[in-house]
Amino acid sequence: MSYLDYTLGEPVVDTAAPAGPIEQRWERRRFEAKLVNPANRRKHTVIVVGTGLAGGAAGATLAEQGYRVVQFCFQDSPRRAHSIAAQGGINAAKNYRNDGDSVRRLFYDTVKGGDFRARESNVHRLAEVSVEIIDQCVAQGVPFAREYGGLLDTRSFGGVQVSRTFYARGQTGQQLLLGAYQALSRQIAAGNVEMHPRTEMLDLLVVDGRARGIVARDLVTGEIRSYTADAVVLATGGYGNVFYLSTNAKNSNATAVWRAHRRGALFANPCFTQIHPTCIPRSGDHQSKLTLMSESLRNDGRIWVPKAKGDTRPPAQIPEDERDYYLERIYPAFGNLVPRDIASRAAKVVCDEGRGVGPGGQGVYLDFADAIARLGRDAVEAKYGNLFEMYQRITAEDPYTVPMRIYPAIHYTMGGLWVDYDLQTTIPGLFAIGEANFSDHGANRLGASALMQGLADGYFVLPPTLNDYLGRTKLDAVPADHPELAAVEAESADRLNLILAVDGDRTPDSFHRELGELLWEECGMARDEAGLRRALARIPQIREEFWRRIKVPGTGEELNQALEKANRLVDYFELAELMCLDALHRAESCGGHFRTESATPDGEAARRDEEFGYAAAWEFTGTGTAPVLHKEQLVFEHVHPTQRSYA
């Protein structure tokens, strides 16, 4: 049976969301939750994998409540998790501007922005909790931008009409993460969190149907061992690095979530990936990652390419009437400010036509000449100075005199482990928080909402629901000699040994680039049936070649970064396959998932709510064998689906 012949399993009917008015569900859930006596909490061990906004916040909070937390990160310090690179800001329905914002409006904007593919109950809770996050972070000393009166400044972000985004210059993620890291550090120093840096989760331990620990590898010594607990929380981020080139940190990876998926956790909406339109284009084949620049640049920059194909003249020599300001031409009402996905796709279209600029023709101009003429150089510098400086450092071009070159890049993944209202996966005792889960953003995430969701999950949502799980569940300790531990440890070690034993003639990066280019081409900004079928045929071939030709020097008993990369790749192959299958089966366009076959007459994404108004939760059945699809039908009681239009 081919991998493509997936079967339909039982629908997901129980999301564990309480009934009743949506405004009261979270309160009701917390009231009905079972509590654990404070004196008994230290008898419970909770494993948290990852130390980003979600994991850092969860580890600190659970330890403060008295649980024994054992936490892991592959970086040398918990402070380096990739949340640190988020620039723009964090949304919260504080309505400090008195501009009509409310929990209801943030809820509405998020469901609509997600193109009606998110679960209403979860999104409403996110909007409710958003206001507490700001209070918490301010109390920690997060240096948000302030006005002269000493109150918090906010700005409008990502096309919403209210000013609800709190920020700390262009380093909001860094400052929020350091707040969580400092709270976590306090708990580490107090002995409440046992922190394992430079340690990577390789697999999940499931005992008697429940998540009871992980198998992890000490990246310095190579030691592989089991860690047992009463519950496991995955806060391991997204899987954008499957594309090789993305704005993610180099070591962010999908192994933890994918291993959990292999052990039985359903994986939802893997094809929902977000592409950010304003990244610095690649400069050559050596490119190792892409750098994002805040999309606020589109407020004043004008995007264009030459009208003629293959026009290689420097931009200053291309006269005005030979330039195509294509966004202004196609979308006169919104112009350069169309949403992320539309701006990204339009850039790809003009580059595919041979009108792209810069090395390899993979770029479009973002021109500030008009803004500088209109506002003056000083005003432009005051607004965008740090971004211009960053651009100049990377490209050695001066954006005040030469138009910037930009190109879209993979930035965020909305898909992830399926979780219920309690953020619990389909494996009891296994929770997924932050970007690692599929919750809240539907098919498209709004700007400044990733930080909000990570902290909401970590500080406020997970602690009470985990409490409930531990309060309700009778768990015996897993004995150190339980056969499952030794079996999974051996399986993990075997895999590394198999990689080392191939001794072929291709590097891990060469395979990763090949996989990434394929995905970008066939499962990137625009997808169609033929392309997805090509990718699904090609991925098993690359995987087969990997197992014949991979070369990793050294051993598994030492710091071996090439081995880490190769091991992550093994999971990327399977994940990539599922992404393509998910994209193929979802024969509609929605949010970040654009199927060229499902477009409106003016070329916009056309949703097909009747057929695809569900979250697709996939069940693993084996490498290369067809998975089982479980549908969670989405119900919209409060926000009624409408078709977007920006023409």
Binding site: R79, I84, A168, S288, K289
Partner: protein
């Protein structure tokens, strides 16, 4: 361009290391320094040799993971992180020395990878505000004067890369410690723990084996985030005040 690299290779903390020479060719001036090392590592892997180990992650200058001493300077000739240093700052035919951070408190793990966990322990000894989740008052209950907020932010930008320690002839972590003490001590939220914070953090800094400060100022010159040297004066003032 073609380059000669002399790179510190060391198997582990207890084995001796040495500078090893490599040649790389076809290096583009648009490559970052780490992409140049990627190129070398690809060649080493294909030759069956162990690639050069180095820490890196975000490659956009904010996570603080990367850091190496390049031609004797922490993060190299430009005031930025190693990942944001581009090869256009070197010339064809150059010989480049690449070493790990050198400091008593940063033992070498392997090659260019060092153990900077001492910095985490300094933070854990006081670099926080005790504000357990759920205990926070409404965010606008305490206005913060903009000057204090801006001063706090200027110091909060520290990425914990350790360049200040590596650049200091004494291997001192004063600038790192100052950055966090100033960030939190100038804010009203940090005031209740103001005295204990600075005492505990300075105490941990000394216990971890970092050197003392002799006002050389190399730290602030090497800092990729521009943490000001005046932060150390503020740290000293906070310490005396406590």
């Amino acid at each position: 361009m073609n380059l000669t690299l002399r790179i510190w290779r060391q198997q582990g903390p207890d084995t001796p290391g040495e500078m090893t020479e490599y040649r790389v060719s076809g290096i583009s001036e648009d490559m970052s320094f780490l992409e140049m090392l990627d190129t070398l590592n690809e060649e080493l892997i294909l030759r069956g040799e162990r690639p050069v180990a180095f820490d890196h992650d975000c490659r956009e200058g904010i996570c603080g993971a990367c850091g190496m001493v390049i031609n004797g300077q922490a993060h190299g000739p430009e005031r930025t992180t190693t990942c944001q240093l581009h090869m256009r700052h070197f010339r064809d035919g150059d010989t480049i020395d690449v070493e790990p951070w050198r400091a008593g408190a940063f033992p070498v793990v392997r090659d260019l990878v060092v153990d900077r966990s001492a910095l985490d322990r300094i933070i854990g000894s006081g670099g926080y505000v005790t504000a357990p989740t759920g205990s926070a008052p409404e965010a606008h209950a305490t206005p913060v004067p903009k000057e204090a907020a801006d001063l706090a932010f200027e110091h909060a930008e520290c990425i914990g890369c350790g360049a200040c320690v590596a650049a200091c002839p004494n291997g001192s972590a004063m600038l790192f410690t100052a950055a966090k003490v100033v960030h939190l001590n100038v804010l009203p939220q940090g005031a209740p723990e103001r005295a204990s914070r600075v005492r505990n953090m300075v105490g941990t800094m000394d216990e971890e084996g970092f050197g003392g400060c002799t006002n050389t100022g190399e730290c602030a010159t090497a800092c990729p985030k521009g943490i000001p040297l005046s932060g150390i004066a503020r740290l000293n003032r906070e310490f005396l005040r406590s």
